[in-house]
């Protein structure tokens, strides 16, 4: 046995640790997400099967548990409802109001039908396991025609809101980069004042977006609460999808443009079903 072999044998733990740390650092250095065939996709295809299973088992247990507590609650409510029924029998229903509500709901439904793009509905099955990164995993993959770069939208509160874009596609699942991630950039426009800018995620978390490079001329025209939509430039996101509302306007004397703080339209904590748009790109 040579001296080197003896040293390695003696310091086995330290040598292994150093090797693993070096491998990790090399992997970080060389893992580029622009390569055509990447180990992450193969790994994700395999792991997504387990993710789907755990998600479904969890939903089943959750639903069963909810059903039991729901039954208990329903029993209490039944008694209450019976008492109220006698009270409400005397009141006539306002048919006109109901019709109006019905028309509004129909309008929302038709809105999704009138979109010029093919929509692929998908369910959110997971999110990034850690707290440092923010990705969303959906249950449709290349087997359903999903490709990298496809925009993802959702219908919330009667508006079509932008969720993000597909960045990784495996056979049965896909990873979506949400608009609040610092790596996300969207060519945007203010809906009323028509000024252009660039919306990107903030390092401060999912409740904030920043719109940069808005001309200083816009300072007197931009309104708080004004809607920000995608401008369609750049070709990734189609034109006219709602991104958020202006919450703060920052005009610094030493900068040539305005910076707007935008609150996303989409409530990401309640995201369950999304639509992937096939823009044909």
């Amino acid at each position: 046995m040579t001296r080197l072999q003896k040293t390695i044998q003696k310091r086995k733990v330290g040598v292994t640790c150093t090797s693993l740390v070096l491998i990790s650092l090399l992997l970080i250095l060389f893992s580029s997400r622009s390569l055509t065939i990447r180990p992450t996709e193969i790994g994700q295809s395999f792991l997504s099967v387990f993710q789907i299973s755990v998600s479904r088992i969890g939903s089943w247990i959750g639903d069963t548990w909810n059903s039991i507590s729901e039954l208990r609650r329903l029993q209490q409510e039944l008694g209450l409802a019976r008492r109220r029924l006698a009270e409400y029998e005397g009141l006539s229903r306002d048919l006109v109001e109901l019709r109006q509500e019905n028309a509004q709901l129909k309008e929302q439904l038709d809105f999704s039908r009138t979109l010029p793009f093919k929509q692929i509905p998908a369910e959110v099955i997971g999110k990034d396991p850690g707290n440092l990164f923010s990705t969303i995993v959906i249950n449709k993959g290349s087997s359903r025609g999903l490709r990298r770069g496809m925009p993802v939208v959702v219908f919330q509160r009667g508006l079509q809101g932008l969720v993000g874009k597909v960045i990784e596609v495996s056979l049965f699942s896909a990873t979506v980069l949400p608009i609040f991630d610092p790596a996300s950039y969207i060519a945007a426009r203010l809906q009323d004042s028509r000024y252009d800018g660039l919306v990107n995620g903030s390092r401060l978390g999912q409740g904030r977006l920043t719109m940069q490079y808005v001309k200083k001329l816009a300072k007197n025209e931009v309104q708080y609460g004004e809607l920000v939509i995608s401008s369609g430039m750049g070709g990734v996101y189609p034109k006219g999808i709602h991104i958020g509302r202006v919450r703060e306007i920052r005009a610094r004397s030493y900068e040539a443009s305005l910076e707007l703080e935008v609150e996303p339209i989409v409530d990401f904590s309640r995201l369950e079903y999304v639509f992937v748009l096939d823009t044909g790109g």
Partner: protein, 171 residues
Amino acid sequence: MERPAGNLIIIIVILAAALLLQSTLLERAAIKGVKPDIVLIILVFVSLRKGSMAGQLSGFISGIIEDLLSLAPLGFHAFSRTLIGFLYGLFEGNIFLDPVFMPLIVVAVATIIKAVLSSLVVLLFSISTAGYGSWGVRLFIEVGYNALLSPFLFAFLGLIRALKPRDKDKM
């Protein structure tokens, strides 16, 4: 009879299951978007019980699996988890793990070490991430959340035969 490879496989399976839970169900238990890092808690427990070799190997493999499930570049989590596994393994048999306070402390410190190492990698490789932002609320929540869960998880993990200390079943 020694079965180090068998034990390591069991540890990896437990860590992989914890990762899947973290990416699916634990999302519902998030406080202000921050979920607990149960993989880190398990890794700390494994390292303190089984030593540096088992700690760094399980840290590296669980880190790579986490990288596959995440937007993180391959090796990002593997780096911090390998080092944490190694460091905590050095204290094998030297820390008396009482049911409550010691788990709280070791896990809180591990969370802070993870944050420091991750931030270092983010800076060195210019990785785009929201990270811990201003080093304020998010890190504070994660430290507290992990620490609070640690006594329960440590108690549960103590029941698993493959995670018994090495003097009984050498790894």
